[in-house]
């Protein structure tokens, strides 16, 4: 008997991947933005 685990797995996978992806994107952008600070102020 199907207990709909396929929907559950899909839901948790989509949410985890999306939120982790957004978190990583934010960290990368932030790191780049922070790194560009001293370069510009040194001009």
């Amino acid at each position: 008997m199907s207990h709909n685990w396929n929907y559950v797995v899909a839901g948790y996978a989509i949410v985890t991947a999306s939120l982790a992806g957004y978190g990583v994107w934010l960290r990368v952008k932030l790191r780049r933005a922070r790194r560009s600070l001293p370069e510009e102020s040194g001009d």
Binding site: N4, Y7, Y12, I14, S18, L19, L26, K29, L30
Partner: protein, 243 residues
């Protein structure tokens, strides 16, 4: 920085505990989606975050519009909160759809709750697009603050849609008109923990997004100042050469 890392670690711990409880400890719901009910530990917190995020966007926009409290930070906070809110709204719609298929027999229904939620999603997508429109910081801030307040009018409509109209979507499990909480035991505990964990994650994302917006805004300002300084230097050189 260390405080932020500690907060992130605590958030990830709370999210991990939520996943364990939701997937292995809480019971399935007999004859009504069975294990698909586990998706509600994602769907409900996402809905809560959407309300919270757009509420904070509205408050920050209002504070930006009032001359006495106007500060560019309110505009940046409104934008950061709206962006995070849009992501959680999209996830709420996707997870809701995944729950609806085995429970209602359909991925989507044009009922009041689903339709008003979709409208809310597109309203805030439009708000984010407006934030990218070419304008001065002050012009953009004012324009976006007004748009955010208009968009927020849909939030209470989304919440009360299940009370005002007959919908396929169920009434609130906790915040229903009679305030009759229809959940208990491990399910109630997991739901509360999930809401707390998602709220912490929202807080972390907004902090990061706000800092990024501040740095980007500062960079644009510095680039503008550098361009002006360069232009002034070039004009001075031109004046010196003929003499």
């Amino acid at each position: 920085m260390t405080l932020k890392r500690g907060f992130l670690a605590l958030t990830l711990l709370a999210l991990g505990a939520t996943a364990v409880l939701a997937l292995w400890v809480t019971p399935p719901r007999e004859n009504e989606g069975w294990d698909a009910v586990r998706l509600l530990y994602l769907h409900v917190p996402c809905a809560w975050i959407a309300y919270l995020a757009f509420g904070i966007t509205a408050v920050a926009s209002l504070l930006y519009l009032v001359p006495r409290t106007r500060h560019p930070s309110w505009d940046l906070l409104a934008g950061a909160s709206a962006e995070v809110g849009v992501i959680f709204t999209a996830l709420m719609l996707i997870v809701g759809s995944l729950w609806g298929r085995p429970t209602w027999g359909t991925w989507w229904a044009w009922d009041a709750r689903l339709t008003t939620t979709a409208i809310m999603f597109f309203l805030y997508l439009g708000y984010l697009a407006l934030r990218r429109s070419g304008a001065t910081v002050a012009e953009r801030g004012k324009r976006c603050a007004i748009a955010a307040l208009i968009a927020f009018a849909d939030v209470p409509i989304v919440h009360f849609s299940v009370t005002w109209w007959q919908t396929l979507h169920q009434q609130g499990t906790v915040f229903n008109p009679k305030l009759d909480v229809q959940i208990d035991g491990s399910m109630a505990f997991t739901l509360v923990l999930a809401v707390a964990a998602f709220t912490m994650l929202y807080g972390y994302f907004v902090m990061e997004r706000f800092e990024l917006a501040q740095l980007e805004e500062g960079r644009e300002e510095r680039e503008l100042q550098l361009a002006i300084a360069e232009r002034v230097r070039a004009e001075r050189r031109e004046q010196v050469v003929p003499a």
